[in-house]
Symmetry: C2
Subunit: 418 residues, 2 copies
């Protein structure tokens, strides 16, 4: 079978399975999640054995240590997959909920009912545990899923896939509801992205290169974010102690993730008071600071920022700092350089807080809280499959509900159109 034919067959099978999965009772879906968890528990040695093949290959090809860490399905990682399955099992099932219902003058009862999206194409890079995490969310939300992981994790992904297929079959669910594309060729992704007839939504997760590749080649709508260039604006009326705590958390707690702060905007009038303590704390944590001329004037140890540093996702202990004359200028900077991801204001001023919430065009906008809260779990969605910054139904973190849409259901009693 050619690669194109293989991908087509997988997608067709997924579409058929999706019809069944869409109407499964919650209890059956939870049973399947439990069966997958039990499979992982029982087959630890098999999983580790297959995972070793990937690790050995990666080592031979000279991948860096951090990469191999992410690739490794240790006992701890297997435990976290099992825990994830249990957590998803406990989340409420979004499918079938009537989100609203109203009566028309002609007596028609019109409602909107949550339904699964259908078939989700999930394209991701190295970590093989994501294979199980993503499958669990798709299954619980009544979707079929086609998974295409990184080539370096192919043995791991295939053994997890076969475990999940067995678990599904044992609970009477078509195993084609969760499929891993069994090839390392990138051409498979290109083929997949053409199949808008069978696949409803594509979610890529990984580096900006992967995501751009998917967006540019897809005929299917893509839920994605390219990057998270998160800003914090410290207002003239900020509680400076709170500002220091939040900015430190947003930059330092986990600098390599998309909801970490990349640019700090400081109101002119408090900069001389705020900068000394804040920068001392950043330096202690090893943060490299790159500032606008005014910042450098206040603290000559700061490296001058280049134009490239604005709107740049460092994903590292590096921070761009700009002093602005007012909220207006802060909003303009965010509008120009932001990535629609996460922005926060630190202020005690009521009007500025409301204005910031209202005008900033980002998936999550916060007052007096860390940007690190842009996360499905932290915001109360239970779990997330990713964060979307396209203006589609799911702007921001995507949990179970964001893997559904609604259809209209209409209860009539013989109505016709006049």
């Amino acid at each position: 079978m050619s690669l194109a034919a293989l991908v087509q067959k997988i997608s067709q099978d997924a579409k058929i399975a999706a019809r069944e999965v869409a109407v499964l009772p919650t209890s059956v879906k939870n049973k399947a999640l439990a069966a997958i968890a039990a499979g992982l528990q029982q087959q630890r040695s098999l999983i580790e054995q297959e995972n070793q093949k990937d690790i050995k290959n990666a080592q031979q090809q000279g991948y860096p240590r951090a990469f191999i860490d992410r690739l490794t399905l240790s006992d701890k990682v297997i435990n976290s997959m099992i825990q994830g399955l249990n957590e998803v099992s406990q989340l409420p099932d979004p499918v079938g909920a009537i989100t609203s219902m109203w009566k028309r003058p002609n007596g028609l009862l019109v409602g909107r009912q949550r339904i699964p999206l259908g078939v989700i194409g999930f394209i991701y890079e190295s970590r093989p545990n994501v294979t199980v995490d993503a499958a669990a969310l798709c299954l619980k939300s009544g979707n079929a899923v086609i998974l295409k992981g990184g080539k370096e994790a192919i043995h791991s992904n295939l053994v997890l896939s076969s475990l999940m297929a067995q678990a599904l079959a044992s609970t009477g669910i078509p195993p084609t509801a969760v499929q891993v594309i069994p090839t390392t060729e990138r051409e498979a992704v290109v083929e997949l992205l053409k199949l808008d007839e069978f696949i409803d939504i594509v979610i890529p997760r990984g580096g900006e290169g992967l995501i751009r590749f998917v967006a540019e080649n897809s005929r299917i709508p893509v839920l994605k974010h390219y990057k998270g260039v998160c800003h914090i604006f410290v207002d003239s009326d900020a509680d400076l102690e709170m500002a220091e705590t939040i900015c430190f958390n947003a930059k330092v707690q986990r600098p390599g993730v998309c909801n970490a702060m990349e640019t700090l905007l400081i109101h002119n009038s408090i900069a001389p008071r705020f900068i000394p303590l804040m920068f001392a704390r950043f330096r202690e944590a090893g943060v490299e600071l790159r500032g606008c001329p005014q910042t450098v004037a206040l603290d000559p140890q700061v490296k001058p920022a280049s134009e490239q540093d604005w709107g740049y996702e460092f994903l590292d202990l590096i921070l761009a700092v700009k002093i602005v004359p007012d909220l207006e200028a802060g909003l303009a900077h965010i509008a120009r350089y932001g990535s629609y991801h996460t922005e926060a204001i630190i202020t005690e001023n009521y009007r500025n807080a409301q204005r910031f919430l209202n005008e900033v065009d980002s998936s999550v906008v916060l007052v007096n809280a860390s940007t690190r809260f842009n996360d499905g779990g932290e915001l109360g969605l239970g779990a997330e499959i990713g964060i979307n910054t396209s203006k589609l139904h799911a702007f921001g973190p995507m949990g179970l509900e964001e893997l559904t849409t609604t259809k209209f259901i209409v209860y009539g009693s013989g109505q016709i159109r006049q």
Copy 2:
């Protein structure tokens, strides 16, 4: 300026305008709608004069009468545009509504707030009145819009565009919030569809050819439906009189539209009773019937249906008819040949009604009512810009609310991520 540069400039300007339009008070948006209506009222002769150029060109090029009718901006059509503007003005403004809000254990107040999509690309065919109708919906929902109409309506669209720009400017709204691409070249559409940096959503409206062209060339998510192949299933427990009335309405009232019935599925057990009266009525209205072998056996005047007739959008007084042994077979036929658009069941059986609503994967699913109700106005959305059968946030008719999405807003008091 090259065509590509022109389209890029228009799109960039739209994005800048979108930021302003997003936060306009409802009263200002309504004032702009009123100003557009007043402009149409005052400039009737100018509009008709420009429209005449399009009509003359179309006549010279031998376009059919029906096409020229659709192209004509008669006094009646101008009145309907004015009425449409007034209606949209009276609809509630969806922007800013908090759709839900909850408190996290750490005290964060997390809410979802409706925001505009941003910049909408609207690509459509002949009728120039759509230029104003679509602009009104986009403006009221806080979006900027770029309109690309058919080449045959270019003079009409440009005069309407200039009227709208004046009206916007007179109310202090950037005129670039509503722009018509001033060219007849299709290449402009290709350029537009690349600009995912500036445009958030594309909505094509027109024939299947146009829509496929847009879907295949777009890097921006597309809200669309290719076709409406609507089915009605007449169950064994149907009230046959009601079934007759609804099926007649769904096929005959306006056969050329996407929510008209194209295939009638009849339960085996009532076919012999239902068919004689129903078919007599269809024939009286000039409906051509194409049936499965069983249908032909019951009524030899029926032409045998070919495989092509299933899942075909006739948009005409032609109906495909199939007798099925049970609901299961009806559901399977719809799953195979349906277009995710509109499906109805006629039944007095509670369980079958609920099962049909639950299992049919269409944007609108009805019990005992005509498929013709898949329409934003009829379902109570106020108005619609189109119907979407992709599984995005707006599955079905799209009114004002469907031209928005939500962002997360978070009220904190110093929270950081642990």
